[in-house]
Symmetry: C2
DNA sequence: ACTCATACATAGATATACGATGCATAGTAA
DNA sequence: TTACTATGCATCGTATATCTATGTATGAGT
């Protein structure tokens, strides 16, 4: 992880749901995809992702199904549900609010003229 | 707090240092200032801020000094140090990296044409 | 045979913000 | 006089979420 891992807290759910909104994926694939798309900023650990997927499934945000691929072990795919889509929408709004607020604090000039 | 409190994790330090970069402040003032500037998004609790200030002081990022004001109890002001300024610079860069990476994941289109 | 990448999973450690609470001063309303 | 509110600093215990470490298993390449 290239950034303070604490920064990540609270944003893992939105990222996972966002990935699954595009297409159904299996856990390992999500880890690789996130690392690739963020240019190595996000490197989810199994200990982070798998428990998260299980809890999202328990909450009905996503559903899982096993699928076998030729030569290789079976993969557990996850698909986003309607509830998950609606939650993602809320979380996107929340992220916008948060991001704007932080930027507001950080970019405010020390002194104001006029 | 208007957003998921977990989102806040990892960004408290940068916000406090950012405030103190502009001017020296006392704890209570920081809480009010953050709430005002973020339009109520950030409402730091005493249980969050004071321990944070103490640890930042222990790390040499900030220094404190008491100052009495007429009519009213003394206030403990905090001033940012050179080390704090340099840390703030790093954390700003870290925030930029994080923010860009999250946005990259969130704004990616589900399907790409061309 | 051995190593590496793939693939899912869990237990325990750690970090951090919050809720609750306490103490103290000053102004204001009942 | 009393009570409430805002101000102002502080700490303790709790909840939550991520990471570290570890385990199991398969297939490909050397």
């Amino acid at each position: 992880m290239k950034v303070n891992k604490e920064l990540l807290k609270g944003s893992t759910v939105i990222m996972v749901l966002s990935l699954l909104q595009r297409e159904s994926m299996y856990g390992y694939q999500m880890i690789k995809e996130l690392e690739k798309e963020s240019q190595g900023v996000f490197m989810f650990k199994e200990g982070t992702l798998y428990p998260l997927l299980h809890s999202l499934e328990a909450e009905g945000m996503i559903v899982s199904y096993w699928e076998g691929n030729e030569g290789g072990r079976k993969r557990k795919y996850y698909r986003i549900t309607k509830k998950g889509t609606s939650t993602l929408k809320e979380k996107r709004q929340e992220w916008e609010t948060f991001r704007s607020a932080v930027d507001q604090i950080l970019t405010r000039e020390a002194f104001i003229w006029g």
